[in-house]
């Protein structure tokens, strides 16, 4: 599911993709940079499935989401970032379904004229995605599947942006 809103006036292209397929980081950065000589700064974050979590060895994850609401919540998070920082293009990709250790889960990329805006918006989007976007992880660890609990630290980190 891909939603692209192009605002030709100020080069603010937004790409949101929720997909089972893997993504290619270089292609995503190309898309952010292509014909975008206004913005010199690109900050990215990519998250992958780690081989361990809270001391347990992990062999895979299953990612469930709330179709429809996921896209809406990401659009809203990106709008909040656009309201706070002077940013250009934004891409958010989140994978769903069955993932293995080392697989990419999430990509956030933000362009800007200035590095500080690119960094801040990229981190803000990740922090808000963690607490506002309806994704749930089920972890496969030592043969047992269990839903992950939300972390208090994620909630606190997101709240820091409000101060």
């Amino acid at each position: 599911m891909i939603s692209v809103n192009k605002n030709a006036a100020n080069n603010n292209t937004v790409k949101i993709a929720i997909q089972t397929a893997d993504f290619n980081l270089a292609d995503e950065v190309d898309l952010l940079e292509n014909n975008n000589d206004d913005d010199g700064a690109v900050a990215t974050f990519s998250g992958r499935v780690r081989n361990n979590n809270l001391g347990k060895s992990v062999s895979g994850l299953f990612l469930e989401h709330y179709p429809g609401m996921t896209e809406k919540s990401l659009e809203k998070i990106i709008e909040q970032a656009q309201a706070q920082w002077n940013i250009g293009r934004v891409t958010v990709i989140h994978r769903i379904g069955q993932l293995l250790v080392g697989d990419q889960i999430v990509f956030v990329g933000v362009t800007s004229k200035h590095r500080q805006d690119a960094f801040a918006a990229c981190e803000f989007i990740m922090d808000y995605l963690k607490v506002k976007a309806p994704f749930w992880k089920k972890e496969l660890s030592e043969g047992v599947e269990s839903w992950l609990d939300a972390r208090q630290s994620d909630e606190e980190k997101a709240q820091q942006w409000q101060s």
Binding site: G47, L63, E64, H65, Y66, G68, M69, K72, S73, H94, I105, V106, M126, L129, K130, V131, K132, A133, P134, F135, W136, K137, K138, W147, L148, D149, A150, R151, D154, E155
Partner: protein, 81 residues
Amino acid sequence: MIKVLFFAALREQLNSEEISLPLDKMVTVEHVIESLVTKNPDWKTAFSHTLLCAINQEMVTKNHTVKSGDEVAFFPPVTGG
């Protein structure tokens, strides 16, 4: 009528992903939970955990109003990213 959706651990605990619920007047989310638990007493434990609620795909608090035709979703705190 309202459509009620359940996700993730809650969906598995209730063994239900979507139900329809008759709604004859405006109520709050809290009232929706009460009527779900009244109809299904074994759902009580699942609804005693911390849950989030969205109405028409927007996050709301438990005193938010629910009206006929709404899509009401209950789910555990999110863990994506």
